[in-house]
């Protein structure tokens, strides 16, 4: 109905090779984008600062991780550490007077150059062993940051982010930081949408499916594994600096611990491995399900007078977080993006199910 697939006839190759060949998809994307742009005028500050900004930032990070995990098939349990490197580099540079634009890039480069060390492990081992290696590196990076007062910032181990501006716009209020996060997220999403159409993306896919086979086909596994880690760590570093500047405003080592890495991993898995849309869904679910459940149990407890012990009540979101991860893996391993695509496939030719797709 909406898609009017039957009425669309591509007559040129460019038309069919567009990012979104179907008119309705383009319309949908543009209207969501328009809504996001208009959000600060439509929504209360509470939704902006409490929901939209973290959603955009965590989505950006999950996109970067998804390039590595879904795109190149490498496991990474230390993405939080990569983000920490970017965040600390850029905050220190900003404090030294470097403009944010450059500090962000520098943070990304720093993350990328250290993240490539994680990649070096990937050349040697894979699968579960790679997971362990990256996990170990997460702990090592954490340790180095918190044990070096010059990085973590003295005995209180908190560094305040000074007021910054991006391209002449001061990032102080929620609206400005929101647009900044949206801009970064948009750029990363655009990159991710296009990467699959480049030779780089195709080489990654070959490495993902079977690295030996890719090598035999003439794709340099050495080069592309390292490149995958480089690009994904660069994105992680940039997002780390966005996170520090837009959202945390004061960084301390414990904000980038293994929990963050696992959270991002869960977002990618629940959203859908290898999909661009997935992290958007995954981030929303993993970030907001605990909040929603928390409020729900609070509401039930107060309005119906149900005396749930506070320990149990408080742990329900954590249980649900675990249950969500387990449930998705068991019942929908391809994640929320797959559910969306099922829906879309169904709607493509609705109501003429017998028609050819």
């Amino acid at each position: 109905m909406f898609y009017r697939r039957a009425g669309i006839r591509h007559t040129r190759y460019q038309d069919e090779r567009q990012l979104f060949p179907l008119g309705f998809d383009r319309f949908l994307i543009l209207s969501v984008l328009a809504l996001l742009i208009a959000a600060p005028f439509l929504l209360d500050r509470f939704y902006l600062a409490g929901y939209l900004i973290p959603w955009l930032i965590w989505t950006s990070a999950a996109l970067g991780l998804n390039l590595l995990m879904g795109g190149a098939g490498q496991i990474h349990l230390g993405y939080g550490a990569v983000m920490a490197i970017g965040a600390y580099t850029s905050v220190h540079l900003v404090r030294a007077g470097v403009p944010l634009e450059f500090a962000m890039i520098a943070g990304g480069l720093m993350s990328a150059s250290i993240g490539i060390v994680f990649g070096a492990a990937a050349l040697r081992v894979k699968g579960i062993y790679l997971a362990m290696a990256t996990l170990a590196m997460q702990y090592i990076v954490d340790f180095v940051i918190s044990q070096t007062p010059a990085i973590s910032g003295g005995s209180l181990a908190t560094i305040q982010v000074p007021p910054v501006s991006f391209l002449g716009i001061s990032l102080r209020g929620d609206t400005e930081t929101y647009y900044f996060a949206l801009f970064v997220c948009f750029l990363i999403a655009l990159f991710m949408l296009n990467v699959g159409r480049t030779s780089f993306g195709r080489a990654l896919a070959a490495v993902r499916e079977k690295d030996y086979a890719a090598q035999i086909l003439g794709v340099s596994v050495f080069k592309y594994k390292l490149l995958a880690f480089w690009v994904s760590s660069f994105i992680g570093g940039v997002v780390g600096s966005v996170l520090a500047v837009c959202y945390l405003r004061a960084i301390s080592p414990d904000q980038f611990h293994i929990e963050l890495s696992i959270q991002l991993l869960a977002m990618v898995i629940v959203g859908g491995l290898g999909s661009v849309l997935g992290p958007f869904f995954g981030a929303a679910l993993i970030l907001f399900a605990p909040i929603v459940l928390n409020n729900l149990t609070g509401l039930v407890a107060t309005s119906f007078g149900l005396a749930i012990p506070i320990d149990l009540r408080a742990h329900i979101p954590l249980i649900a977080y675990g249950a969500l991860v387990i449930g998705f893996l068991l019942y929908e391993p391809l994640g929320l993006a797959k559910i969306y695509s099922n829906l879309r496939n169904y709607m493509l030719v609705w109501p003429f199910r017998h028609a050819q797709r």
Partner: protein, 421 residues
Amino acid sequence: MAVNRRIFVSGTAATLAAPALIPSHAFGQDKVIRFTMAQDFTRIYTFVTSEYSQGQRDYFTLINERGGVNGHRIQADVADHANDLPRAIEAYERGKREGAVLCDPLSTPVARALVPRALEDKINLITAFSGRSDAADGSAFPYVLPLSINYWTQAGLIVDHFAKVAGGSLRGKKIVFVHIDTPFGKEPLPILQVLAQRQGFELVTFPYTPPGNDQAAIWPQVRRARPDFVMFWGAGVGQTVAMTEAIRNGLPMDRVSSSVWMSESDMEVVGKAAAKGVMKVEPCASGRDPKPIKDILAEVVAKGKGAGPEAKIGTAYYNYGVQMASLMVEGVRKAFEKSPNGPITGAWLNEGLRSISNFTAEGMLPPTTVTKEDHQGGGQGRISQWDGTKFVPITGWFTANQDVVWGEVKKYSEEFRRTGK
């Protein structure tokens, strides 16, 4: 189990959509003062939060049962932020939207992230036993109120008590400081170093890795250092393990002291008899004897309105909760004294909180005076000792080494003033 994909997906969707469908209660009563009590029940602060929160809620119930403050009910919105910043900030922003005038996150990382926001939004951020120690400087942090002794003061109190035990002077003595290797654990170090220099004792420090569930390699070294006194600094499981190891290494427990983070349930884990003699800092009286606790037992719990298991009432962390709640209520009372007609805002409550003077909650707290400069409330506490069944105070309320503490406070608050804003 006949769960298939469709049931799982639709079940998840239904659960998440439910809150949107249930009409959220418009809390009609306009005579309500809202506090946001988003705390960490599930991650790091599990050892304290449920008892602390129970104490706070019981005290608020007590006040509300008596008709509230000036006819206003106190409503505490309890939520779990799991030490996770997105959730904490969401809870804070939600509270702000609903008109909360105070937020008590009881978590150092969360408090640190909320400081810039609270200063901007003029919402009172209570950082008792958490957050930045330099928030004691009210002139730099007008809306951040520890309202209790910070870690620097606690370290100062312990050293002062050690000096008394040693017969007046610590010169030539050796104090071992065993601490969790986190910013929180390292916090007292600058104070101890200054004091070591000034009072001439030798300071030996041993960090252990968080959360401290294995300290088997630390305490033999402590024993071999042959200390005169031992201070251990940690929280939760680190504390119980530290005590157990100290006992196993045969250290004299009456020369061992810790911060405020020690409670009856820790003693339960260590073994009540074995831990006899160990000391802690008390920011308020413990046990069921203080008047507010008796009132809670009589007017709240007896009516079946208690917020949690009765056995927990009167434990150390429960009483900390009551302490903080009573200070908050006193702040509200003072605010009504200053401007009886409100409007009830963060700034209004801030005026009240910062004019608390000589408040003792009927003998439960040390005399607490909060001023526009001093948000610590005077820096008084006492040392108490475990006698095998309960903590017995062995000193009166006292304060010590405040000049060193304030030197450190000023150093960091200056730094904050220069770069933070």
